[in-house]
Symmetry: C2
Subunit: 135 residues, 2 copies
């Protein structure tokens, strides 16, 4: 997730990710490999002698922006020891927090106005069993 955040900042090269994140090279190698295998980033050669690659975010990776922005909003609220990051919404020029809404009625989503359908069978059985045990 931090690699992806840095990629959105504009970082593309292994050494730059490593400087920014300060993690061991073997761990970074394995994380980047995982992101490439998952189709979230891709390796693109930027020079041929010697061959060197940089890492770019794919469309699948860019589609994680809503997840990252909601996580940032959560972090700003609950983990205030982190340095807050200001996101500027270019369309209106304002500093923004991500807000999640229903794509039908555009009302904000909370834990209380949401249900899941169908609840997976295994979960259904457990919940029923728990409720029966309580009755």
């Amino acid at each position: 997730m931090l690699i992806l955040r840095d990629a959105f900042y504009g970082i593309r090269r292994f050494d730059d990710f490593q400087s920014s994140l300060g993690i061991a090279r073997n761990i970074l190698t394995s994380r980047l490999k995982g992101l490439v295998e998952a189709g979230i980033m891709r390796k693109v050669p930027y020079q041929t002698h010697p061959l060197r690659h940089e890492y770019r975010v794919t469309e699948k990776g860019r589609d994680l922006i809503p997840v990252i922005t909601t996580l940032l909003a959560w972090g700003d609220k609950w983990e205030s020891k982190d340095v807050p990051v200001t996101l500027i919404h270019k369309d209106c020029g304002e500093a923004m927090h991500a807000k999640v809404v229903c794509d039908h009625c555009s009302k904000e989503l909370t834990a209380f106005n949401l249900s899941i359908d169908p609840i997976p069978q295994v979960v259904q059985e457990r919940v029923t069993a728990t409720r029966l045990a309580k009755a």
Copy 2:
């Protein structure tokens, strides 16, 4: 994340998480401990002889709903091998996908109408260095 998803389904007890997720008990113990330490779940006794606890999602945990719903929407689009989960928005009764909007102008957020301010110093330096090297 899967533990939290199950908790939102209504699962509360260790054995039920274990049946639902099918992960090793020691791994589940350590994950639940991490969630409790992070303040995302809390342990509540449900019987005293013998003492037994269940795990409930806290307010901090419930605030992760936007993150989870955006991740589900991403998964439905990109990882179609997973069973799709239908979220019902109780306010309008419709099956919904989470949509992330700017909390000022309510327009949808994308990777292309967002900038970060300020870019952290270390990232700024790296990006500048990369750009200079390219020039």
